[in-house]
Structure formats: structure tokens, C-alpha cells
């Protein structure tokens, strides 16, 4: 029986090496592009047709998703400050959702099951929050390390704790998405492997579970994209409001 982790292996399709750096195009990148092309194509289709005051089906779906993200951003960051972050958060949500969903197509690849990818995004967001914080508050931003109401004597203890807490944010953000995607696909691979290898009279059971877990994975794809973007909003909101 093939290893259930086998389908997480990345295979190079077009090798590209620039200055000793491997930038080859592989199956994970191609799957991601397919997902992103569907997302971008849907939006471009609606925009090229002309945004109608009475929306069609596709426009309604896109409007609902945008409205949903916009209200989320306004809730955590605030309407005035949040307006400029709506495109970024919406793009992030759609990117993660597209990557999560495209990975559910058999033979495809979930790039968000790569911890380096989720880590890169989480780190990027963490750095972005720091930049926003320092741009908005200057050196007062360091006050985020001292929670309000803490006695002065506790400050030397609280600062390292807060630093660890801050650093844990991108790690948790990255690991959560990566672990959920990996776990879901591993379970699916195990069940499907069982369905293929077990006798016919019992193979229907793991196969049935595969279908159920696949439905669950679709929900998880949405939930994880939502959690990732919600936490991003929370982090941005935190550095803007400073407690």
C-alpha cells in the first residue's frame, strides 16, 4: 500500500534555476495557479460584463463573499481604518480558499499543506502588522508589550511573555492551516487506500467515509480560510488600536 503522505510530494514540472536558487515550477504551483485562475477569472468575467445594479448569480456570489469579508474587516479593524485593508484581506481569503479547494480535486495539490508556504504568509503578515504598528504609533507601538492595568513591578516579567505571545502568533497561524490541510488529506488518503486494498464486500465502508470526509474537507477549506483571515484582521486591529 502506498504511503498516505505520498501525495504531499512535490514534483518538478519545469525546472528553473536562477543564481543557485531553485525556482522550478512544480505540481503544487500549477495547482495553485489553476485555483487562482478560477478566482481571478470569475472576478474578471463579472467586471468585464459590467457590474449590474441587479446582480446575476456569479456576481451575487462574489458580492456576498466581498460583503462578508468587508464586514469582518470592519468588525475587527473598524470601518474608517479597515477600508484600506479590505482588498488585501479579501485577496488573502480568496487565495487561501482557492488553494484549499483546488487541493480537493483528485490528482491536484494543496499548496497550503506546505508549512513553508503558510509560514511565509504568516511571517509576511506578522511583519506587516509590525510595520503598520510602527507607522501608526511610532515608538509608542512598543506599548503593545505592556497590557493595560499591569502593575509596574510586573512589567519586566510581562514584556518577555508578550514578546513570546507575539512571536507565537505567526507560528500558530502557519501551523494551524498547514496541519488542518495535511490532516484532512492524510485521512482521505488513508480511507481511499483502504477502499482500494480491502475486499469488495467491505471496501464500500471506507469509500463511503471518503465521501463524507470529502464533504467535511470542503467545509474545513472554508473554515480555515476564514480563521486565517480573521486572525489576520485581529492582529492588524490590535496594532492599530493598541489594546
Amino acid at each position: 500500500m502506498e504511503s498516505p503522505l505520498h501525495h504531499f510530494e512535490v514534483h518538478t514540472i519545469i525546472p528553473i534555476h536562477i543564481g543557485g536558487l531553485d525556482l522550478s515550477i512544480n505540481n503544487a504551483v500549477v495547482a495553485m495557479w489553476v485555483g487562482l485562475a478560477i478566482i481571478a477569472g470569475s472576478f474578471m468575467l463579472v467586471v468585464n460584463r459590467g457590474v449590474s445594479p441587479i446582480p446575476g448569480k456569479l456576481q451575487s456570489v462574489l458580492e456576498i463573499s466581498l460583503e462578508f469579508i468587508r464586514s469582518m474587516v470592519y468588525e475587527f479593524i473598524g470601518e474608517d481604518e479597515g477600508k484600506k485593508y479590505v482588498p488585501f484581506i479579501a485577496s488573502l481569503f480568496l487565495f487561501i480558499l482557492a488553494c484549499n479547494l483546488i487541493g480537493l480535486v483528485p490528482g491536484s495539490y494543496t499548496i497550503t499543506s506546505q508549512v513553508v508556504v503558510t509560514g511565509a504568509f504568516a511571517t509576511g503578515i506578522f511583519i506587516m502588522t509590525l510595520v503598520i504598528g510602527f507607522c501608526k504609533h511610532g515608538m509608542h507601538f512598543l506599548g503593545i508589550l505592556v497590557p493595560p492595568g499591569v502593575p509596574k513591578i510586573m512589567i519586566p516579567l510581562m514584556i518577555p511573555i508578550e514578546i513570546i505571545s507575539m512571536l507565537a502568533r505567526p507560528i500558530s497561524l502557519a501551523v494551524r492551516l498547514f496541519a488542518n490541510m495535511t490532516a484532512g488529506h492524510t485521512v482521505l488518503a488513508v480511507l481511499f487506500g483502504l477502499a482500494l486494498t480491502s475486499p469488495a464486500w467491505v471496501s464500500w465502508m471506507p469509500f463511503g467515509f471518503t465521501i463524507i470526509i470529502n464533504g467535511l474537507e470542503i467545509a474545513i477549506a472554508f473554515i480555515q480560510a476564514y480563521i486565517f483571515t480573521t486572525l489576520t484582521c485581529v492582529y492588524i486591529g490590535d496594532v492599530i488600536k493598541l489594546h
Binding site: A40, F43, L66, P87, V115
Partner: protein, 173 residues
Amino acid sequence: MPQFEQVSVFGSLIFWSLLSFAILFFLLKKFAFPPILEALEEREKKIRKDIEDSEKLKEDAQTIKKDLEETLKAAHGKAETIVQLAQDEAKKFQEKNLQETEAKVRQVQKDAEQEIQSSRDKLLQEMRSYTAALTIASTEKFLKKALGDEDKKRLVEESIEQVIQELEKRQRN
């Protein structure tokens, strides 16, 4: 796990994913989001305005309804007053008519009574005078002689004849 073992692809995955995200972000931010967000905001504004307008219209309608109700109430009050006045007027008129009629009836009754009384007095007067004349005549005859039945009858008839002549004489006078 391949995700930790295939270190050689890390650079490629990070590079392409970040670049792809950047391109997606640029495309969506530049071309896709503005018209859709604008349409959303416009629709939101329109809906809010429509709701505000409808609320205003509702308030106006309520004010008009209230005014109409007040006007109707005032009209009802006026109508009631007018009806009351008319009823009072009619009652007064009726009473006045009744009084006048009663006065007339009393007058007519009084006149009739007076006329009856005068006729009666006149009749009594006449009867008294006839009776006196008859009595005088009868007494005269009686005093002259004792009378037989034939005489009596004749005397009575004479007396009656005399009375009739007297009456006719008076009537002529």
C-alpha cells in the same frame, strides 16, 4: 513528511506562492474589487435612502392621517352642534306653535261658550216672558169663570194661539 523533507522545493514554493498572491492581489485590487465594492456601496446607499424615504413617507402619512382624524373629529363635533341647534330650534318652534294653537283653541272655546251662554240667556228670557204671558192669560180666563172641558181646551188653545201671535209679533218687531 514530504513537507519537511523536500527542502529543495521550499524556495520555489515560497517564491511562486508569494508572487502569485501579489499578482492576484494587484489584479483584484486594481480591476475587480473597485467596481464591485462601489456597486455594493451604491446599493447600500440606495437601500438606506429608500428606507429613510419610506420612513419619512410613513411619518408624513401618519401626520396626514392624524390631521384628517382631527378634522373629521371637528366636523363630527360641528355636525353634532348643528343637529343639536336644529333640534332645539324645532322644539322651540313646536312649543310656540302648540302654545298659539292652544291659545286659539281656548279663544274659540271661550267665544263658543259666550255665544252659548248668550243664546241660553236669550232663550231663558224668552221662555220667561212667554210663560208669564201664558200664565197671565190662563189666570185671566180662569178668574172669569169656571170652565168645562170644552172651554178648557178652547181656552188653552186660545192661549197658545195668543202666545204664538205674541211671538210672531215680537219676531216682526
